[in-house]
Amino acid sequence: MNGSGANVAGCAGCSGNCCRKYKVGVTVADVRALAAGMALHPKDFVRLLDADDDGFRLRPGGPAMELYLIRRAETGACQFLMEIAPGKARCGVYAHRPLVCSTFPTTLQRGAVAIRQDTVCGPDAWNLAAMNLATYRQDITRNRAAWAEHRQIVQAWNATIDTASREATPEDLYEFLLNYPANAA
């Protein structure tokens, strides 16, 4: 769910399909921003799911996992989605939302901000010309930098796992993420 300027919701008719259909994978920077901005602990909004490739391990040789926002089992919706009226849902953490939400539904394609055509909104649901493209480009750039940092933190965490004497818990990981790089040494 996204929008620009004063209207944080984008379109009046938006029912927040993106907040219901996708598993929202987030970076360490996103987790920190949400934790600080909403005064929540990561365990209240993050779950660990198997990663496609590299990811956080809780024991040497264990499965690689990545960080996803928690969804409600009954609706599949992000738990931060406010269901206000039938067909009227809005983000409840808008000012602190993950960059993958800020950049939705855009991508940087052949040198320009473009609308992804494979999204749940359907093709041509968005009007590129009316969107704040400078903000989208900045958020896309920030998101790329955040993922580069994220991969470094995965390496740093996994290095501690390889030398640890016991299996780590998700809570150990969250503490590490909140305090990195103070605990990097």
Partner: protein
């Protein structure tokens, strides 16, 4: 804090605009006493109701509750002024924060709170007048004016206030 004496028309309009919702998407009514200045006349003058933020199953419609049971306001800085100054009570007769802060540990915070309470008081005065003006018009409507009409009038009245313009019903051709 979600009652009509606390949540003002200015709060409702700001939330509606920013979230791209109409006021009736997130408000509900409760019966109002005859002398309540926030009582809106409905049903051909037979009833008065308050307009307030709607309830969902879990509380305020804007309350975000995590599966782990933690509750947070989903509006953030957009929250009604009365919610943001909580636990100060803006409707109290002599709010402590409006008095001159003496030897305060946090004078800057006190200053901000006093400013927020003054803003709330101005919003409340305007809110009372919006309702009084609407009720006067509704009394002459032959009972055809409804609650959504009131909320449309509120949107107009708040825009006029911000523009420094006259009340909607006073606009000349």
């Amino acid at each position: 804090m979600r009652g009509a004496r606390y949540v003002t028309g200015a709060d409702i309009v700001r939330i509606a605009r920013t979230l791209a919702l109409e006021p009736w998407h997130f408000t509900q009514t409760a019966p109002a006493a005859a002398d309540d200045p926030t009582g809106i006349v409905v049903d051909e003058g037979r009833r008065r109701v308050n307009l307030r933020l709607a309830n969902a199953a879990h509380g305020c419609v804007f309350l975000v509750r995590t599966l782990s049971g933690v509750g947070r306001c989903g509006l953030g800085d957009l929250a009604p002024a009365a919610c943001r100054v909580f636990p100060a009570d803006p409707a109290a007769d002599a709010p402590a924060a409006l008095r001159e802060p003496k030897d305060s540990a946090e004078p800057e915070l006190d200053q901000q709170l006093a400013e927020a309470l003054r803003g709330w008081a101005a919003d409340r005065d305007h809110w009372y007048e919006v309702i009084a003006r609407w009720n006067a018009q509704a009394a002459n409507s032959g009972g055809t004016y409804g609650l959504e009409d009131f909320q449309r009038y509120l949107l107009e009245a708040q825009a006029a206030r911000e523009a420094g313009a006259e009340w909607p019903e006073e606009v000349a051709a």
